[in-house]
Amino acid sequence: MSTRRPYRITRAVAEQILGGNPVDQQAGPDELVRLLAAAAAPAAPTLGSKVTGEEAAVAAFLNPHLGPAVQPRRDLMIKTALAKVLTVKIAAVALAAATACGVWLATWTPALHGLVGNATHTARGAVSHAPVSPAPMTSAEKTAYRIASLAGTCEAYQTAYRHANSAPSNSKIRSLHAKIAREFAPLIAAAGGTEPKADAYCRGLLRELRHRYPGGLPSHLPSKLPADMPARLSAALPTGLPTGLPTSLPTLPVGLPSHLPTSPPTPAPTILPHGSQLPIPYPGH
């Protein structure tokens, strides 16, 4: 017959157990001690042995800025984490740009599809919808900002999309796609409402950008976000973001054209109504 009385564990005994001090079996419930011992016994790593996620963490340590280039592809866990971080940061910039300019991401599509074929038009439209414009930007800057934002969003989307499709389990795949659907909802909606369409849209967009701007994206980008961006950003961001907003725009290649084209490309793109299906691939590509 047991003499243990675990219901009457005292504070002193609890502290003994929690503090790892020897416990008199008559005073302490042995099974509880065993339970906690089991919980406290991690698979002890040894010197020279690697722990799950180690390479990812080391990559982050070696490059605290965490560019995509440092992602060890063989480590799915870090791909998940990096995809999240990059996705969120770049999407945050995109959403911030959309909010500040008073335009929904989807409404960028015509101008972006035509690659700022009519910068004046888009700038005027943006200003007319903007509730506040604390940091006026030139038309070229605004348009370039939108292009960079959407390009960044597309790159982040593609990273997340590929990662989701290569997740190791069905539950993980579902979970990641649900996250994508939440965080890239505007992009997906603009591209036709489904993730594959968004993927195809982004492929086309990035291909077009690379073709038209082989030296990199236009450089007329503001050096920092407008002053009221952070407050707006916090309201516009999707849930579940890591703390800390992006402090700079996505890195863009150097050697960019100094000005964006001011006339429509040839052939001139059709301005699509909001939510329309995008013609993919782009003309001539």
Partner: protein
């Protein structure tokens, strides 16, 4: 605990938990100067505990959350001030914030899987089962602890799994040490009652037994 981490032979690799605090504290300083190997050492020393603590909060998402935490740890390591004990608490704080972000985003609680049968099955075997109990049923034990109210579960996990004292755990949780002690005490009482009602019994009685938080002593 001591038994579980001691090398079984002179040739066995040296468990990191057996490294003295001074080694790991110097690893903190070296890592802050950019020493990759020192960072690896810290990672290996902390990550297993961190993962287990996170499993008690976010269950299956623990690895992802831990990854996010380490990204931040790696990024902010230069701004950290303190020794290894402090580093462990600092890492736990970051991991906890990431876990709570995750929960807020998903409104998810850990899966309330209570495989208490695993404990029943393994308790009461011969002595060698001790190691198996610790190695195999750790997740079950954490899952059981995770069924406690969150404040109690976290207090227990931080103290037992992360090996933090009440003051350090209080800093992680943003509470006073007394509140942590109370929460942990209530958690232990509830766990003991649960075990009692489930009929879990330990193996052959010993005279005394070393408590679980010996992590602190065996590092």
């Amino acid at each position: 605990m001591d038994r579980a981490v001691e090398p079984s032979s002179p040739q066995a690799p040296r468990p990191i938990q057996n490294l003295p605090d001074t080694d790991l504290s110097s690893a903190v300083r070296d890592a802050q100067r950019g020493d990759e190997e020192a960072f690896r050492l810290l990672f290996r020393a902390v990550q297993p505990r961190l993962l287990r603590y996170l499993r008690g909060i976010v269950a299956d998402e623990a690895e992802d959350v831990a990854s996010e935490a380490w990204l931040q740890i790696a990024r902010d390591l230069g701004s950290f001030r303190g020794d290894f004990d402090g580093f462990r608490g600092w890492a736990a704080t970051i991991a906890r914030h990431r876990a709570l972000d995750h929960l807020r985003g998903h409104q998810r609680r850990p899966a309330s899987v209570v495989p208490i049968e695993m404990l029943v099955d393994r308790a009461g075997d011969e002595d060698t089962a001790e190691r198996a109990l610790e190695a195999v049923s750790a997740d079950a034990a954490v899952a059981l602890i995770a069924t406690l109210p969150r404040d109690q579960a976290e207090a227990v996990l931080l103290r037992v799994v992360m090996g933090l004292d009440a003051e350090a755990a209080g800093r992680v949780l943003g509470k006073r040490a007394g509140a942590v002690r109370t929460a942990a005490y209530r958690g232990l009482r509830r766990l003991a009652r649960h075990l009692e009602e489930s009929g879990v019994r330990a193996g052959p009685p010993g005279v005394t037994r070393t408590g679980p938080a010996a992590l602190k002593d065996t590092r």
